[in-house]
């Protein structure tokens, strides 16, 4: 009996499943002994069983279309506690505050700023911005909505250790943690049905380090100047020669098809895979005929929509009812432009954000993302956000109009204003984009990740921060997330207690130990990070030896594989 290609494909899938199970068992064997000896509790056995089930499900995802991936990368190491790093989710006492981690200003002093937010009967203490309101697009009724509107479909993941310090190494680890495997976007690109998704993966804006690699399908890069959506579909834009050729083909359609079939058959290359070429050929021709036309208005309208949301986010009085006025010359007034450290002299620091303030190319980035997602043109979109522009800082000598994300010496007073504006603008854009995804029934099959190459460690005097590579974190938004969750543990006071570095005192995001992979003392690394994101995306992980910390339930969607995030004194 001859096996049909379908049967062969099924057999191949089974082989892949087996392979991944083997990979799993290989990695499993490394810690199973410890699990059985040191942690032979029912819970550990249960976790082992769960891991087995996850491994099985993992193999099965190979046959599944990946979710659309929007990777929002805040390039430079955004101080994540302003948006996606809940430092004290339980609101309890197992938290040591560090001044630089302040996200609010009360009674002329910086404060931690956690706000309790209750969703689905669950209360979580989140960064200050989650208790605020954001503008809503005029087409959606305008006005404002709570940031917490986003929370139902949000999961926070914390405590991933980068291997070492540095922007470059952090970015490499975030995008492509395994140098022998594609980037996470590349994993998505490699899995997409190329006949349905014309541009498997797109990187919009300035590139990071080693962020683009797909084993088989390529990642398209587009700049954000001019009209990027026109640039993206330019390959499918018809011209005079193509119009003429297609017209002739249509005129002699029946004869052309007969001849084409005969040519292909005689070429003796009709083995498996040829239909992929032909289906993409059909897709390309359909796109030519679709005639995207002049997309200037399309892009400009999308850009204007997001730009308006950013502009409407600039009213700092809506976040802070009274002036933020640390004493003249105080460290809280520090500013930096990556070259010079200076003191910001605005009487009220809220005024550094003006009606013209924005985040460099945030509106353009969201416009590109919405266009690609709504048109179904791509499954993996990377956008990179960086500098705050058009701020109005007066300083001891002269002025400054930009605040970089690599905030080494941004005093707390400036930081509270600037970064809350950043977070507010971003969440306003996220609300609009997720609303579009929901109303077009795309949100369940979309994963939006917000993250940086690391977060920020503090300087205890409030003068600024540094590279917090010991505590990478991210936020996922997806319709597949049915209720909010915070996963991954933090360490209470790791540096002060273990390494006697007072300047790093406090609970600021260092990854704590967790009960995972059969051990109660696992520290998450960037392999776990990648596997977690890939599980959500339904693609193989480039780091399969590290198990992600989320799983997908048929009924409950994406859920944590580990217990709720806590802060450990470890």
């Amino acid at each position: 009996m001859i096996k049909t290609p379908k049967e062969i494909a099924i057999a191949e899938l089974e082989m892949k499943k087996t392979l991944h199970r083997r990979q799993f068992l290989k990695s499993f064997s490394g810690w199973s002994g410890a699990a059985m000896v040191g942690c032979s509790s029912a819970a550990s056995v249960l976790q082992m069983m769960i891991h087995g089930a996850i491994s099985k499900a993992y193999g099965e995802t190979l046959a599944t279309e990946p979710r659309t991936f929007l990777d929002i990368f805040i390039n430079g190491g955004f101080p994540a506690q302003f948006l996606y790093l809940p430092l004290n989710p339980g609101g309890g006492s197992n938290y040591v505050h560090n001044t630089w981690n302040s996200t609010n200003w009360v009674s002329d002093q910086p404060v931690a700023g956690f706000v309790p937010v209750t969703t689905n009967g669950q209360t979580m203490h989140l960064p200050f911005i989650w208790g605020q309101n954001i503008p809503r697009a005029s087409a959606r009724g305008g006005g404002q909505v709570p940031v917490s509107s986003l929370l139902t479909n949000t999961m926070f993941a914390r405590g991933f250790w980068n291997p070492s310090d540095g922007h470059e190494v952090g970015q490499v680890q975030v995008f492509r943690p395994n140098p022998t495997e594609p980037s996470i976007s590349g994993m998505v690109a490699d899995q997409v049905d190329a006949s349905r998704i014309p541009i498997p993966a797109v990187s919009a804006g300035a590139g990071g380090y080693a962020d683009f690699y797909s084993r088989t399908k390529g990642i398209k890069r587009v700049g954000l100047n001019g009209n990027p959506v026109s640039d993206l579909v330019s390959s499918f834009t018809s011209n005079a020669e193509m119009t003429a050729a297609l017209a002739k083909k249509d005129q002699f359609s029946a004869l052309f098809q007969e001849a084409l079939t005969a040519v292909a058959q005689d070429a003796r290359v009709l083995n498996g895979g040829s239909e992929t070429i032909l289906s993409t050929l059909s897709s390309a021709e359909n796109l030519f005929r679709r005639n995207f036309g002049n997309l200037t208005d399309v892009f400009n309208n999308l850009k204007a929509k997001y730009a308006a949301l950013i502009t409407a986010s600039t009213n700092m009085s809506e976040l802070f009812s009274s002036a933020i006025s640390p004493a003249a010359g105080h460290a809280y007034r520090n500013g930096n432009d990556s070259v010079n450290l200076y003191s910001v002299t605005n009487a009220d620091l809220r005024t550094i954000i003006t009606i013209n303030s924005t985040v460099d190319r945030m509106a353009e980035s969201f416009a590109v993302a919405e266009f690609l997602m709504m048109e179904g043109l791509s499954k993996a979109i990377l956008i990179q956000l960086t500098t705050l522009l058009n701020v109005a800082m007066t300083k001891s000598s002269g002025t400054a109009n930009a605040i970089i994300v690599d905030q080494h010496a941004l005093g707390v007073g400036v930081s509270v204003v600037a970064n809350n504006f950043y977070a507010r603008s971003l969440t306003a854009c996220l609300y609009e984009l997720t609303s579009r995804l929901k109303e077009t029934n795309k949100f369940n099959e979309t994963v939006i990740k917000v993250g940086s190459e690391f977060t920020r460690s503090p300087r205890d005097d409030g003068t600024g921060g540094d590279h917090g590579w010991q505590g990478n974190c991210f936020m996922l938004l997806s319709g597949a997330i049915k209720k909010p969750a915070i996963v991954g543990n933090l360490s209470l006071n790791f540096y002060t207690r273990t390494q006697n570095i007072p300047s790093l005192a406090g609970t600021w995001g260092v990854g704590g130990t967790i009960n995972h992979e059969g051990s109660n003392s696992t520290r998450l690394n960037m392999g776990h990070y990648a596997s977690t994101v890939c599980t959500a995306l339904k693609v193989p992980s480039p780091t399969p030896n590290f198990l992600g910390i989320v799983a997908e339930s048929p009924t409950e969607g994406l859920v944590p594989l580990i217990g709720p995030g806590e802060t450990r004194d470890d």
């Binding site: 001859i2 096996k3 290609p5 379908k6 494909a9 191949e12 190329a194 014309p198 541009i199 590139g207 380090y209 962020d211 683009f212 690699y213 797909s214 088989t216 399908k217 390529g218 990642i219 398209k220 890069r221 390959s235 499918f236 011209n239 020669e241 193509m242 003429a244 050729a245 002739k248 005129q251 002699f252 004869l255 052309f256 098809q257 007969e258 001849a259 084409l260 079939t261 005969a262 040519v263 292909a264 058959q265 005689d266 070429a267 290359v269 009709l270 083995n271 498996g272 895979g273 040829s274 239909e275 992929t276 070429i277 032909l278 289906s279 993409t280 050929l281 390309a284 796109l287 030519f288």
Partner: protein
Amino acid sequence: MKKLFLLLFLTGCQTNLSGNIANSTSSTGTSGTSETPIVLPNIRLGDRYYVSSVFSTIFQPTQAEGATAGEVSTIQYFIDTNIGRQFTDFGGACDYFSNSTEYCGSGAVNIGSAIVETTNVMASPLAQATSLRSAMSLRTIYGLIAYDPALRKAISLAKSTTYGAVNLTGIAGPTLTELQTAYSIVYPGVIPSLATLNKIHALTSSVESSYNGKEAWKMAYNVLLSTLLWQQL
């Protein structure tokens, strides 16, 4: 099943070629085995260098053959733009001898004539089929057959004559023999069946009747190249 899908796609359900399918995969009578190997969907396609070289071979005359320097460079630029620089879509990784950021991405750093550092290389060694790749291939085909010097070169190969001997004005459409030669240029090592040649000839003859011989030649190379299956290794 895949072949049936392919044929349905190609023919719009008009042509029944199931006999040929059966011949190519006849049973050995052994359960679970196949007489001929079956290629799984992980196809291998030529990279940008390979695809560029095929287009250049067919369509790019030399100055020694009588083309002007401008014509040669126009064709070269066209192929480079649509294929050679599309490293994300066609694959073909950069190496030490790559000499331009245009071919290796904006992260490439040139010292002298060599790429010594590439932080953002997006090219896969071997890329697979995507709509983008197919689109750029079709653009190249349509563009080249519409450019007289390129068409002259392609016709000269099919006629087994010199570039200079081809005059597009008043040229007759391709004969069966010329179509057979053209076919073997696109698919080296394959001698097409007479039935296939007749079908191509029926198409080109019809085009010649409605238009002229030059348009018939354009159509000949259009139908020969448009399957894109020649890119499969």
